[in-house]
Symmetry: C2
Subunit: 193 residues, 2 copies
DNA sequence: GTCTATAGGCTGATAGAC
DNA sequence: GTCTATCAGCCTATAGAC
């Protein structure tokens, strides 16, 4: 055959990476298929050899993006639950994350669009989200706390991005960061596991 | 004159109310001017006698919706800070709120679109949001806690709506509700002001 | 102030050359 | 597998009748 066996899969990966960045920056619905594909360097015609519809792309995008987020967590160098969580809070609740949605978490920019998507998309989303929540629950020793943390993180970046004034953005970020760190400290006051 | 003096203003109010519901349910960008106006019972031609552009409508919508939210808070019957906050948490972190975005808070469905809007829209948004944050700060005796609460509330509804399974939606809602109520109890353990 | 009609551009998706 | 060319349908915004 003309192409090595993994070539199509590799193209698909590149396509998901590029269109993920565009969708997170400009919105998924607002980005036409042409626009999403231009970032990947191909045309809309080529798109349909990889996905049956735009909705199928959204599904693949969610899977790819949430997997990437879990992979970032896996690269966290800290061992104790306290250090591990501190590191992730600082990484997420960060002005750089506010200013660069294209390189950040998929949840703040696209959750509202997922909420309006069809059932297959939302079911995949729930399954992938729960995987992340379970990882967090292990570190927090609480499934409930894990949900609360995720909600706080996502809401903070979402609102900070809608605010134009950088000082106010920082106030929001720092407020949430201290709120979560206080909640952690209260649960393990001595730093013990 | 043919119309009573306040007629146009009244029409405008009705138009904002109806298009607010549509925008919160289907998204602002995804709802065409025709669609937004159909809900108000007029056509796209009439729209441009009230607003110079679709962006101007978004600005007016944000002002109208956040004012409506503050008016809801003003109707809270409780006096003590603890009861007042409990009441609002129960009202916001509610399955009904998850299932009926058209009647709910504007932040979860539209914040991501506001973040991508032009400067005048975002500046108005910040000013209106801070008004609400200040009201909450009075009740919480902390500007910082007020920001953290808002972020938690918005993130929770946003994520719960993207999740299809009602049991999981409830788990997310209850997790955030307990998290916030615990934070409140810790700050005023005896229930004192 | 509201309507209908219309303009020019962009959308998601398909057909066929290579 | 990717390209160009193309479809019908939607978008924002405007013009002019009433």
């Amino acid at each position: 055959m003309r192409y090595p066996p993994g070539k199509k899969e590799q193209n698909r990966k590149q396509l998901l990476l590029a269109s993920g960045r565009t969708a997170k920056r400009d919105g998924f619905a607002a980005s036409g298929v042409d626009g999403l594909m231009k970032a990947a360097g191909v045309t809309s015609g080529a798109f349909y050899s990889h996905f049956s519809s735009k909705s199928a792309l959204l599904k693949a995008l969610i899977e790819s993006e949430l997997l990437a987020s879990r992979n970032m967590w896996a690269g966290n160098p800290h061992q104790t639950a306290e250090d591990w969580l501190d590191f992730e809070l600082d990484r997420y609740l960060n002005l750089g994350h506010v200013q660069h949605p294209e390189a950040g978490c998929v949840l703040p920019p696209l959750a509202a669009e997922i909420a309006r998507a069809d059932a297959p998309v939302r079911e995949l989303f729930e399954a992938e989200l729960v995987k992340g929540q379970q990882i967090l629950a292990q570190r927090l020793h609480s499934e409930e706390m894990a949900w609360a943390f995720i909600c706080q993180l996502v809401g903070t970046i979402l609102l900070a991005r809608a605010i134009p004034n950088e000082a106010t953005q920082n106030a929001v970020l720092e407020a949430s960061k201290r709120f979560l760190k206080d909640a952690l400290a209260q649960r393990s006051p001595t730093g013990a596991e």
